[in-house]
Symmetry: C2
Subunit: 114 residues, 2 copies
Protein backbone atom coordinates (compact mmCIF):
# COMPACT_ATOMS: atom_id res chain seq x y z
CA UNK A 1 0.00 0.00 0.00
CA UNK A 2 1.34 3.40 -0.95
CA UNK A 3 2.11 5.81 1.81
CA UNK A 4 0.06 8.94 2.01
CA UNK A 5 1.42 11.75 -0.09
CA UNK A 6 0.13 15.24 -0.65
CA UNK A 7 -0.21 14.50 -4.34
CA UNK A 8 -3.12 12.15 -3.62
CA UNK A 9 -5.24 15.01 -2.40
CA UNK A 10 -7.23 16.47 -5.27
CA UNK A 11 -8.66 19.94 -4.82
CA UNK A 12 -10.80 21.80 -7.34
CA UNK A 13 -9.56 25.28 -8.19
CA UNK A 14 -11.66 28.24 -7.14
CA UNK A 15 -13.03 28.61 -10.67
CA UNK A 16 -13.99 24.96 -10.74
CA UNK A 17 -16.22 25.10 -7.66
CA UNK A 18 -19.80 24.20 -8.49
CA UNK A 19 -22.63 25.52 -6.37
CA UNK A 20 -24.61 22.29 -6.54
CA UNK A 21 -21.59 20.21 -5.52
CA UNK A 22 -20.90 22.51 -2.59
CA UNK A 23 -24.53 22.34 -1.43
CA UNK A 24 -24.47 18.56 -1.71
CA UNK A 25 -21.31 18.44 0.39
CA UNK A 26 -22.94 20.64 3.01
CA UNK A 27 -26.21 18.71 3.13
CA UNK A 28 -25.12 16.46 5.98
CA UNK A 29 -25.06 17.19 9.72
CA UNK A 30 -21.59 15.76 10.30
CA UNK A 31 -20.12 17.76 7.46
CA UNK A 32 -21.84 20.90 8.69
CA UNK A 33 -20.28 20.28 12.09
CA UNK A 34 -16.83 19.88 10.56
CA UNK A 35 -17.25 23.20 8.75
CA UNK A 36 -18.35 24.94 11.96
CA UNK A 37 -15.33 23.57 13.84
CA UNK A 38 -12.97 24.73 11.10
CA UNK A 39 -14.61 28.16 11.11
CA UNK A 40 -13.57 28.51 14.74
CA UNK A 41 -9.88 28.40 13.85
CA UNK A 42 -9.92 30.71 10.83
CA UNK A 43 -8.17 32.21 9.03
CA UNK A 44 -4.98 30.22 9.31
CA UNK A 45 -5.97 27.45 11.66
CA UNK A 46 -5.79 23.85 10.60
CA UNK A 47 -7.23 20.93 12.49
CA UNK A 48 -6.11 17.33 12.21
CA UNK A 49 -8.85 14.86 11.33
CA UNK A 50 -8.23 13.09 14.61
CA UNK A 51 -9.14 16.16 16.67
CA UNK A 52 -12.78 16.12 15.58
CA UNK A 53 -14.88 14.25 18.09
CA UNK A 54 -17.49 13.15 15.60
CA UNK A 55 -20.18 10.58 16.42
CA UNK A 56 -19.30 8.39 13.46
CA UNK A 57 -16.75 5.68 12.68
CA UNK A 58 -13.27 6.63 11.54
CA UNK A 59 -13.89 5.46 7.97
CA UNK A 60 -17.20 7.31 7.76
CA UNK A 61 -15.41 10.38 9.07
CA UNK A 62 -12.74 10.07 6.37
CA UNK A 63 -15.47 9.92 3.75
CA UNK A 64 -17.01 13.11 5.07
CA UNK A 65 -13.68 14.98 4.92
CA UNK A 66 -13.12 13.68 1.40
CA UNK A 67 -16.57 14.85 0.28
CA UNK A 68 -15.86 18.31 1.63
CA UNK A 69 -12.45 18.42 -0.04
CA UNK A 70 -13.64 17.21 -3.42
CA UNK A 71 -16.44 19.80 -3.44
CA UNK A 72 -13.90 22.50 -2.58
CA UNK A 73 -15.17 23.32 0.91
CA UNK A 74 -11.96 22.38 2.73
CA UNK A 75 -8.30 22.07 1.88
CA UNK A 76 -6.42 19.05 3.18
CA UNK A 77 -2.71 18.42 3.46
CA UNK A 78 -0.64 15.72 5.05
CA UNK A 79 1.99 16.47 7.64
CA UNK A 80 3.73 13.34 8.80
CA UNK A 81 0.99 10.99 9.86
CA UNK A 82 -1.57 13.73 10.34
CA UNK A 83 -4.04 14.98 7.77
CA UNK A 84 -4.73 18.65 8.36
CA UNK A 85 -7.90 20.47 7.33
CA UNK A 86 -8.60 24.10 6.64
CA UNK A 87 -11.76 25.87 5.54
CA UNK A 88 -11.56 27.42 2.05
CA UNK A 89 -13.17 30.63 3.25
CA UNK A 90 -11.69 32.94 0.62
CA UNK A 91 -12.64 30.71 -2.27
CA UNK A 92 -16.15 30.11 -1.02
CA UNK A 93 -16.80 33.75 -0.11
CA UNK A 94 -15.60 34.82 -3.54
CA UNK A 95 -17.65 32.34 -5.50
CA UNK A 96 -20.73 32.06 -3.27
CA UNK A 97 -20.92 35.16 -1.04
CA UNK A 98 -22.92 34.61 2.11
CA UNK A 99 -23.04 30.85 1.93
CA UNK A 100 -20.60 30.13 4.73
CA UNK A 101 -22.17 32.76 6.97
CA UNK A 102 -25.40 30.89 6.58
CA UNK A 103 -23.93 27.44 7.00
CA UNK A 104 -21.63 27.87 9.99
CA UNK A 105 -24.42 28.63 12.51
CA UNK A 106 -26.25 25.53 11.28
CA UNK A 107 -23.12 23.50 11.96
CA UNK A 108 -22.85 25.00 15.43
CA UNK A 109 -26.44 23.98 16.08
CA UNK A 110 -25.58 20.42 15.07
CA UNK A 111 -22.65 20.34 17.51
CA UNK A 112 -24.80 21.82 20.27
CA UNK A 113 -27.27 19.01 19.75
CA UNK A 114 -24.67 16.25 20.25
CA UNK B 1 -55.16 3.76 -10.32
CA UNK B 2 -56.32 6.41 -7.91
CA UNK B 3 -56.95 9.86 -9.24
CA UNK B 4 -54.75 12.65 -8.01
CA UNK B 5 -55.99 14.25 -4.83
CA UNK B 6 -54.56 17.02 -2.75
CA UNK B 7 -54.29 14.65 0.19
CA UNK B 8 -51.46 12.78 -1.54
CA UNK B 9 -49.24 15.79 -1.35
CA UNK B 10 -47.22 15.73 1.85
CA UNK B 11 -45.65 18.98 3.00
CA UNK B 12 -43.47 19.40 6.07
CA UNK B 13 -44.55 22.19 8.41
CA UNK B 14 -42.30 25.21 8.77
CA UNK B 15 -40.96 23.88 12.08
CA UNK B 16 -40.15 20.55 10.49
CA UNK B 17 -37.90 21.96 7.79
CA UNK B 18 -34.37 20.61 8.07
CA UNK B 19 -31.45 22.62 6.76
CA UNK B 20 -29.63 19.57 5.43
CA UNK B 21 -32.73 18.31 3.61
CA UNK B 22 -33.29 21.72 2.04
CA UNK B 23 -29.65 21.91 0.89
CA UNK B 24 -29.88 18.41 -0.56
CA UNK B 25 -33.03 19.39 -2.46
CA UNK B 26 -31.28 22.46 -3.83
CA UNK B 27 -28.09 20.65 -4.84
CA UNK B 28 -29.25 19.97 -8.36
CA UNK B 29 -29.23 22.30 -11.39
CA UNK B 30 -32.76 21.43 -12.52
CA UNK B 31 -34.16 22.01 -9.05
CA UNK B 32 -32.28 25.31 -8.77
CA UNK B 33 -33.84 26.33 -12.08
CA UNK B 34 -37.32 25.45 -10.82
CA UNK B 35 -36.77 27.58 -7.73
CA UNK B 36 -35.56 30.51 -9.83
CA UNK B 37 -38.61 30.29 -12.10
CA UNK B 38 -40.96 30.21 -9.12
CA UNK B 39 -39.16 33.18 -7.58
CA UNK B 40 -40.14 35.19 -10.67
CA UNK B 41 -43.84 34.86 -9.88
CA UNK B 42 -43.72 35.55 -6.14
CA UNK B 43 -45.42 36.16 -3.84
CA UNK B 44 -48.70 34.66 -4.97
CA UNK B 45 -47.81 33.18 -8.32
CA UNK B 46 -48.15 29.51 -8.98
CA UNK B 47 -46.84 27.69 -12.01
CA UNK B 48 -48.12 24.41 -13.35
CA UNK B 49 -45.51 21.69 -13.71
CA UNK B 50 -46.18 21.61 -17.44
CA UNK B 51 -45.10 25.23 -17.90
CA UNK B 52 -41.48 24.53 -16.97
CA UNK B 53 -39.45 23.91 -20.08
CA UNK B 54 -36.92 21.67 -18.38
CA UNK B 55 -34.34 19.64 -20.30
CA UNK B 56 -35.36 16.37 -18.61
CA UNK B 57 -38.03 13.73 -19.11
CA UNK B 58 -41.48 14.22 -17.62
CA UNK B 59 -40.94 11.55 -14.98
CA UNK B 60 -37.56 12.96 -13.98
CA UNK B 61 -39.19 16.37 -13.75
CA UNK B 62 -41.89 15.00 -11.46
CA UNK B 63 -39.21 13.57 -9.22
CA UNK B 64 -37.52 16.95 -8.97
CA UNK B 65 -40.75 18.68 -7.97
CA UNK B 66 -41.40 15.98 -5.41
CA UNK B 67 -37.92 16.36 -3.91
CA UNK B 68 -38.46 20.10 -3.56
CA UNK B 69 -41.88 19.61 -2.00
CA UNK B 70 -40.78 16.95 0.48
CA UNK B 71 -37.88 19.12 1.62
CA UNK B 72 -40.26 22.04 2.11
CA UNK B 73 -38.94 24.28 -0.65
CA UNK B 74 -42.16 24.40 -2.68
CA UNK B 75 -45.84 23.89 -2.03
CA UNK B 76 -47.85 21.88 -4.52
CA UNK B 77 -51.58 21.60 -5.01
CA UNK B 78 -53.74 20.01 -7.63
CA UNK B 79 -56.29 21.95 -9.58
CA UNK B 80 -58.15 19.78 -12.02
CA UNK B 81 -55.52 18.03 -14.06
CA UNK B 82 -52.84 20.57 -13.27
CA UNK B 83 -50.35 20.42 -10.43
CA UNK B 84 -49.49 23.93 -9.31
CA UNK B 85 -46.25 24.94 -7.60
CA UNK B 86 -45.40 27.84 -5.37
CA UNK B 87 -42.18 28.78 -3.62
CA UNK B 88 -42.34 28.60 0.20
CA UNK B 89 -40.56 31.93 0.54
CA UNK B 90 -41.95 32.89 3.95
CA UNK B 91 -41.16 29.55 5.53
CA UNK B 92 -37.66 29.41 4.08
CA UNK B 93 -36.83 33.03 4.91
CA UNK B 94 -38.02 32.51 8.46
CA UNK B 95 -36.11 29.32 9.08
CA UNK B 96 -33.01 29.94 6.94
CA UNK B 97 -32.66 33.68 6.32
CA UNK B 98 -30.67 34.53 3.25
CA UNK B 99 -30.71 31.08 1.71
CA UNK B 100 -33.16 31.81 -1.09
CA UNK B 101 -31.45 35.09 -1.93
CA UNK B 102 -28.31 33.09 -2.45
CA UNK B 103 -29.93 30.27 -4.35
CA UNK B 104 -32.18 32.12 -6.81
CA UNK B 105 -29.34 33.80 -8.76
CA UNK B 106 -27.67 30.39 -9.07
CA UNK B 107 -30.86 29.02 -10.54
CA UNK B 108 -31.04 31.92 -12.97
CA UNK B 109 -27.49 31.14 -14.05
CA UNK B 110 -28.51 27.55 -14.73
CA UNK B 111 -31.42 28.70 -16.91
CA UNK B 112 -29.19 31.18 -18.75
CA UNK B 113 -26.83 28.33 -19.57
CA UNK B 114 -29.53 26.20 -21.21
Amino acid sequence: MASRTATELVHPDREQLRFTAVLAALSDPVRLAIVARLAEVEPDGELACTTFALPVSKSTQSGHFKALREAGVIRQRDEGTRRLNRLRRDDLDTRFPGLLDLVVPQGRAVIAGW
